[in-house]
């Protein structure tokens, strides 16, 4: 991979890498640190990317995922990555900003459910790409994604519009 190809890869994927890290960690400085480490890793060892095994985007998101989880493990050493008994209770709505409420709900999911949901819903990766990025079987991805969505449907129930009326202005009615 030449320097120009590396710069093109950076321009093409920097937003996806940064967004994913930001959504996983809810911290702009931490997301920038992780995104920097992801691209420096590619700069130092470009041969680690094998085009025959998938797209560069899912490869970079996989590195991002590993760095984010490493930080998570350092911070929450005793918590489970995929807590099956996660109590998905309806959120107490204290803000009228729907984006904030949705972000809070997604961030409260166990990390292994959160990552597949973000990669699927926001980065629009296919199931096989998610499986490659998070290093597991497609069936496991489907199962985690299903549980994540079920949990969110319960947590965000207070935002259910009455009689199918939906607010388009970003506030709860």
């Amino acid at each position: 991979m030449t320097e120009n190809e590396l710069k093109a890869a950076f321009e093409d994927h920097k937003d996806a890498v940064y967004r994913f890290a930001w959504r996983m960690m809810n911290s702009a400085p931490a997301a920038e640190d992780v995104a920097q480490d992801v691209f420096l890793s590619l700069l130092r060892q470009p041969a680690r990317f094998d085009p025959g095994r998938g797209q560069l985007r899912s490869f970079l998101l996989g590195i991002t995922r590993n760095l984010v989880l490493k930080r998570w493990r350092d911070e929450y050493r005793w918590e489970e990555l995929n807590d099956e008994r996660f109590p998905a209770k309806p959120l107490t709505i204290e803000s009228d900003n729907i984006a904030e409420i949705v972000g809070e709900a997604v961030r409260s999911l166990p990390p292994l459910q959160r990552e597949v949901l973000i990669l699927s819903e926001y980065e629009e990766l296919a199931l096989d790409e998610i499986a490659r990025a998070v290093d597991c079987e497609i069936g496991t991805v489907k199962s985690r994604l299903h549980r994540a969505r079920e949990n969110l449907r319960r947590m965000l129930a207070p935002l259910k519009p009455p009689n199918g009326v939906r607010s388009n202005h970003g506030t709860v009615r």
Binding site: Q36, L40, L152
Partner: protein, 101 residues
């Protein structure tokens, strides 16, 4: 409380937007390299204090030893010093008379 249906959940998930990567990220990944002339004019280097002290001592010693040594003091010709003259300890006068020698 009734959970959201799939459409309602999809609609809400779209509301949560993430920012784009900040411009500073590019500078952190690809730091701009200054031309050497620019570095000479505006650059700076960090020197450890012990290395600086040793360098200062070496330079001071070198300057001290490379100074020309002053010539030894030589009495100017034509001047007479009486410093080595001693007073006579014992006089032994000799009478010289005429005709004797």
């Amino acid at each position: 409380m009734e959970p959201l249906d799939e459409d309602e959940l999809n609609h809400l998930l779209r509301k949560w937007e993430a920012p784009s990567a900040p411009p500073s990220l590019k500078q952190r990944v690809f730091p701009a390299q200054k031309p050497w002339l620019s570095w000479l004019l505006t650059g700076s280097i960090r020197i450890p204090v012990p290395a600086l002290v040793v360098a200062a001592i070496v330079i001071a010693l070198w300057i001290h030893h490379s100074r020309p040594t002053p010539p030894a003091h030589v009495a100017a010709p034509g001047s007479v010093s009486l410093a080595d003259f001693q007073p006579v300890q014992q006089l032994q006068p000799v009478l010289v008379t005429g005709g004797q020698r």
